[in-house]
């Protein structure tokens, strides 16, 4: 059989996603957080866990987990019963015993109720017999100047420019299938610049976080994408990333949750100087 014709389902950014990591099953963690609320996490099985703020009752969740390298995990779950929806994303770094928590909320902005708001908290993992580390993962500008091409599936790749600690911009050549699939939404925007945050995990490894905020403010329900928050655990040593989306999408005229796990492979790319240096029309 020519396996080019294998009857695979439609894939967008999730085709090259690595399989779910289940190796944390049976482990428990205590996260000592700088934000003042510590968290306990008990990984029950390959896809279920219990979590709680220290001192509170444990709550159950269905999680998703992927690895950025041998000892760094993204561990992600929606809060059961939360309305509007909430999502917790932990970056668990067992090499340095550090943790980053990104809490994402929908419904905090009365003008744009689908906008995803994010809160960042940094902390350390308690390990018996060892002092708590003083170091932390941290917001960073180290990635500024990075231009990279990410391959998401067999036909789609996009090119990212990380040029500001608060924004990024995206493009693709016409021979990427992004030209047909996501291009129309960007063509009506003044630019593809979008709100971003950058967290350093360790040398050559970063959390890159973007929220489709400008698109939601500018296009609203005329775009199918309604403010997704995307978090990428990017490994520039190996040149790949894993990640997830949390947000909403329009389907048949209705707003429905958008939750996707993804992964992609990268390569350096040289991009046009004029595009790289164009002004961001959304900033002063």
């Amino acid at each position: 059989m020519n396996l080019k014709n294998y009857p695979r389902p439609f894939y967008a950014i999730n085709q090259f996603c690595q399989p779910q990591c289940t190796e944390l099953a049976g482990r428990s963690f205590y996260f000592d957080m700088d934000g003042g609320y510590d968290y306990e996490l008990k990984v029950l099985t390959g896809d279920t866990c219990e979590w709680n703020i220290a001192g509170e009752e444990p709550k159950k969740a269905v999680y998703e987990c992927l690895k950025g390298d041998d000892t760094t995990y993204m561990f992600d779950f929606d809060i059961v019963g939360a309305e509007p929806r909430q999502n917790f994303f932990f970056c668990i770094d067992l090499e340095q015993s550090l943790v980053t928590l990104v809490r994402c909320y929908i419904g905090r902005n009365p003008k744009f109720p689908l906008l995803v708001a994010s809160e960042y908290d940094f902390g350390a993992i308690r390990v018996e017999g060892q002092p708590l580390p003083k170091k932390r993962h941290c917001l960073t500008g180290e990635m500024m100047g990075t231009t990279v091409e990410w391959h998401w599936n067999i036909t789609m790749f996009t090119q990212h420019n990380y040029y500001s600690p608060a924004y990024y911009r995206i493009t693709w050549p016409q021979y990427s299938s992004a030209e047909g699939s996501i291009s129309p939404n960007f063509e009506v925007l003044a630019a593809s610049d979008e709100i971003s945050q950058y967290v350093k995990i360790k040398d050559k490894m970063y959390l890159y976080c973007l929220t489709e905020e400008m698109m939601e403010r500018e296009l609203g329900d005329s775009s199918p994408f309604r403010s997704n928050n995307m978090i990428f655990l990017q490994n520039y040593d190996r040149m790949y990333h894993v990640g997830r989306t949390f947000g909403s999408i329009m389907m048949d005229g209705k707003v429905v949750p958008c939750r996707t796990m993804f992964g992609s492979f990268g390569n350096p790319v040289r991009l046009e100087y004029n595009w790289l240096t164009a002004e961001n029309p959304f900033t002063v």
Partner: protein
Amino acid sequence: MNQTNIGEKYGVSQYRFPHCYDLKASAFTLYCGADARTLEFRGKTAAALDGAERAYECLKIEQDIYFILLGDTAAVLDLKEKTAVLSEPGGYVFASLEKGGKTLCFTDDAMDGTRVRWVFGVGRYTDHAYLSGGKALADWAPGFGETEQAMRCVHIRDGIYLADVRGKAPEGSCAPRGTDRLLLLEDYDHMLAVGCAMGGGNVLVSGYAKI
């Protein structure tokens, strides 16, 4: 600072996925005919095949399907279907993880007609065209021209195949020097592969397909 790199220090293993430790502290009996073999994972890096301890590395291609390299032996375990394949220097062993259970076999023509490029790193790839009769055309980046090579195939599960292509990689290609075999566990749903380039030091690889 531009964080990208072309992975010179990793070569063909640049895109290798993180090691998988799912199998740590688990043990299996491999039933093959009247024989029973044992495979025990004693930690994250130590395993024992028939009691003889050796280092191992494991990559996961799909939920419950693992590619394991144990020195000069490679294994594929499918924990859902309870099947195992061992590729040892002396040949292949097809086993079941339960007594009397089903075993796999060679399905050499199952991928006949498939032409695929597996990309293992920046500018590092191999081109395969699978033919009938246990043959394949193969080439390595940056491109030296396809040569006919011997090939064996095992259909592991829907969309997932173990392809064993044997032939020397050209001198100056992206393959490790001395590579004479590429054993790849290929997923035609997600279009990903994990495996090992053998003969030049046995290097684990992962990558994506262009088809």
